[in-house]
Symmetry: D2
Subunit: 347 residues, 4 copies
Amino acid sequence: MIRFNSDYQEGAHPRILQRMLQTNLEQHPGYGEDECCAEARAMIQRACEAPEVDVHFLVGGTQTNFTFLAAALRCYQGAVCADTAHIAVHETGSVEATGHKVITLPQRDGKITAAQVDECCLLHFSDGSHEHMVMPKVVYLSESTELGTVYTRAELTEMRAVCDKWKLWLYVDGARLGYAMASEACDVDLPFLARTADAFYIGGTKQGALFGEALVIVNDALKPDFRYVLKQKGGMLAKGWLLGIQFSELFRDGLYFELSDHAQALAMRLKAALTEWNVPFLVDSPTNQQFPVLPDAVLDALAEKYSFSEQQRVDATHRAVRFCTSWATQQAQLDALISDLRALLEA
Amino acid sequence: MIRFNSDYQEGAHPRILQRMLQTNLEQHPGYGEDECCAEARAMIQRACEAPEVDVHFLVGGTQTNFTFLAAALRCYQGAVCADTAHIAVHETGSVEATGHKVITLPQRDGKITAAQVDECCLLHFSDGSHEHMVMPKVVYLSESTELGTVYTRAELTEMRAVCDKWKLWLYVDGARLGYAMASEACDVDLPFLARTADAFYIGGTKQGALFGEALVIVNDALKPDFRYVLKQKGGMLAKGWLLGIQFSELFRDGLYFELSDHAQALAMRLKAALTEWNVPFLVDSPTNQQFPVLPDAVLDALAEKYSFSEQQRVDATHRAVRFCTSWATQQAQLDALISDLRALLEA
Amino acid sequence: MIRFNSDYQEGAHPRILQRMLQTNLEQHPGYGEDECCAEARAMIQRACEAPEVDVHFLVGGTQTNFTFLAAALRCYQGAVCADTAHIAVHETGSVEATGHKVITLPQRDGKITAAQVDECCLLHFSDGSHEHMVMPKVVYLSESTELGTVYTRAELTEMRAVCDKWKLWLYVDGARLGYAMASEACDVDLPFLARTADAFYIGGTKQGALFGEALVIVNDALKPDFRYVLKQKGGMLAKGWLLGIQFSELFRDGLYFELSDHAQALAMRLKAALTEWNVPFLVDSPTNQQFPVLPDAVLDALAEKYSFSEQQRVDATHRAVRFCTSWATQQAQLDALISDLRALLEA
Amino acid sequence: MIRFNSDYQEGAHPRILQRMLQTNLEQHPGYGEDECCAEARAMIQRACEAPEVDVHFLVGGTQTNFTFLAAALRCYQGAVCADTAHIAVHETGSVEATGHKVITLPQRDGKITAAQVDECCLLHFSDGSHEHMVMPKVVYLSESTELGTVYTRAELTEMRAVCDKWKLWLYVDGARLGYAMASEACDVDLPFLARTADAFYIGGTKQGALFGEALVIVNDALKPDFRYVLKQKGGMLAKGWLLGIQFSELFRDGLYFELSDHAQALAMRLKAALTEWNVPFLVDSPTNQQFPVLPDAVLDALAEKYSFSEQQRVDATHRAVRFCTSWATQQAQLDALISDLRALLEA
């Protein structure tokens, strides 16, 4: 079985494990107050060209999202996002469990627009009964989105303007941020993000780390006391240096970007092949998640050798599925997939 | 200014105030453990033909909804409702503030169908990642709905079957339950509701009481320890007998039904008049809330003398608005409204 | 049965019911945005000599406490109070239910001292692991306390200084504020409180209203958006003017203070009688709650005719109990109690 | 600097890292539904002699505690524990953040007794106002405690009986369970715990794993739907097999017990030395945490070469501190500590 159903199915880049092994019996202070975290933090600040940002390391994405939102929101405020957003659908109501409504807007290709957020806020604040409704306060975006699409600089700049207009925080879930930035469709880089968002996280789990997400807090108003929330929500890893090690390896010599480029190149090869065979897509994704629409017969045969994610039924005989490439996908694995897919489609 | 914008703009039926006055200096035990509450409880049990139901008295509707839902749901469960539902839109995220997601389904005339709930549950429980999503556990309906429409016995019976199939609780928000039951379009009565729902509340605030809602808990599994939740959520009125007095007056000699009939008759007169004049409606409401679509000019002129609620803009020159009648609306007030409306429409 | 077990066992001062009756069919805007609330608000601002304070009207004390605390605290902050405090013991964890720890300090006569709070904060903020503990942010006091004792101006001034030192909010639960201010032991008045606390509430339920508490928010930082929280927590009464009517009657012509003085005079008569008979007290209370320690035999006999609250067992044959006087206690009721007590003690 | 201040200052037992390295590029299903977790689960079930228990793997202790308690408690219920308990003091109110009160009882040597819990429940359930107080529902114990002390079989059996009497869940925090079981003072083993507690966790983070805690759910009533809560609270690690690997290595060939014995032997050597020198202890701890009371001068000199935790000031010139040994402590490190301590004490 070769697994293409997600991008978190292998361990970590060998360099990370190697360093863990080398430093295994060194003693460290706990809870992220160690030199490994300090080093990783400095590397991320440099990569963001933003020496003043705060960087916190957490274990997973769901945890990072609800911890940040719990810290950023007052009890009557909510987060605005696409109705396909991870926090809206696939985190078992973790944001609501901290007391906050997730306010969904209809997505298009997994994205929402500045105009939608503007209208949402206009409706809210101009309503005489606005105190009877949850106040929008955070815009939550994913880069890339659940459907593999990306926000451009122009789109994020517009969103920033709407956030300024209505005094919202702009937060970007970057579980797959590297894969997004590796795409030609995406002109966003870390310095731009650090100038534009109030906070965002750089995903590690899906991008070459064993586990871990680096939350970057840009806006000074969101910085104080964050470590209290981190501890309360279970996100302060006792052996915090394990996160420091991982992110410093990822950001040393550009490994993070290199791994992202690798996944991107493979995804584009798959996309090109499918396109050449006239296979339609659920959405035109420019990143490491590809959503072709394939005949049930092809998929059923394919499933004997490959795993992939079911996305949705399209018609009586076709389903949209998801193939992910990742930092760990091997050329040979992709070659095999492409070859088998071609054979099945031609059969 | 004559107010038609809601049905909670006057005090209480005089009989209620009279009894408060008469018993004012009598001493009572606190927190709803008094004889007035016992009497009201017994009267409601009789009206429901269900001597075994629990009846708790709370002050307001938002409070009743989130208190019941907090008691009924485990931390990973949510309530399914129409996207126009009061808990989804107009309670400032009070359900989320107790930790629970409100799962919305697209409404039609303010209602959702058993088929929609069935599909929602099927999607949830058949999904391999269902543990990553909030489990649907309560179906929340309003009788009548935010748009004045009603659920029939047939519809509620179907919804009950779906709830049984998926082990959901069926909960009915009856802020305007009397007005619903007074409508010819609604064949539901209290005994039916007590046989069909797991819990529901009989609204007092909009139906002739100063304030107060009577929560009826039918299902034995939902009964234990409810008073703890009542206290925790601020719903246990110190002078609980004030609620007992109000509900015993409302249910003595059928006053509750009589007041509902009064509002209904007036609403139907307004509806008939508007229909006669070919005024379109946003929705065909058979109850005390009417939503005509009227020219801006008419509404602006009308607003000098009457208040009504803005519902939504329909086109460049027309808006849908809401007129409510209530137990307190006087014939002369409605006559004036109809007469002025006619004059404006003819002008 | 004559009830002395609490101060919320009768309805309301007749003037309040009278005005409700007179205005019963007048129409009002909902949710506290009416002229009755505006009038009551202005009267309270005048009584506080503080025209700039915000005043919100809620239905009950538990609700007022958790609503204010939810609005004032970030998710990692807690409220510091006596281990006998109402929020710590008798509100079914309503503060915790909004996500916040109640940090208790050992009480003495129901009170805590500025020195205790200072030490608590010193321990917290000087601890290297302070992020692993809940940050103290509100000091919660009751005036008068659960044991009938009072804080003096000197004590509150000291507490204010400690709050300033550690950036805490000072909040005073005034469920029995009038009874406290009526005591010779208490030199606090409303203007002092409005200069000293960040927020406090003036109790209505136990002080002559049918129900209702007036929350006074002094500190500008706590004012914005409070009505959102009010709605979310179920504290925004639909017919808000009912609260406005009650507080404007209570503050018209000094009725609130007159009723408090009445209860105070009766309590002092009871205390004097018990003292004269050498009955010991659990605590030396200068207000309307008295806690004598009496032989079981006396209490058992007394219980046939009077109700009182059990406070705690003192030894094998004695219990401390609570007698409350209130705005509604009649001279004759107290005379009867004193006379029967004397007879039983002499027997 | 040699660190004795805690038992989570090194990485993991080399066997664990070795296996991570070997399996690094193998592909696994996510979220704990893989063969490594299945293997570890089976090994723990065998070690517990309880094939029917559920075993879930989480990343950290705070997370495990609040996730279990959120799953076990209804909104009006709380957890009873020592006032020194980790959940009461050092988890930033994480339990309260899920809505539940932590009900503290005065500790003795870090422990509470069955008699205390019995009295707490008696007071609660016999109080006429019990609905105004949080219902005790879980007893939370730590084995070993914050002060290194242990509960014996006799004590846990008594606690079990009280839990049965009052229908409480018995939950044991086993962050240092191995170290406890390695002590001669502790006659508890895993099979006993699996017969006696309703749930407990076997700590990995402090016991030789990189990170990870294995939650064992014994009582059938607590098993359903736990994975929903796991996901919601951020405890469902994407690459769950990393936890499976760690626990299967720890439970293969008794490594977990061997590592615990190692730490225990070193701790007892330190204790024996200190005892021989007549150094008093804050508490007589039979496990890997030792709390000697030492002169400030000695500690200040020692601090140049060793780290240890500050526990509390004892008098003007003495402080109690904590030295931890662990699976990773080397004989030579302890020898150095003992030798330097002796020299300083003799100076």
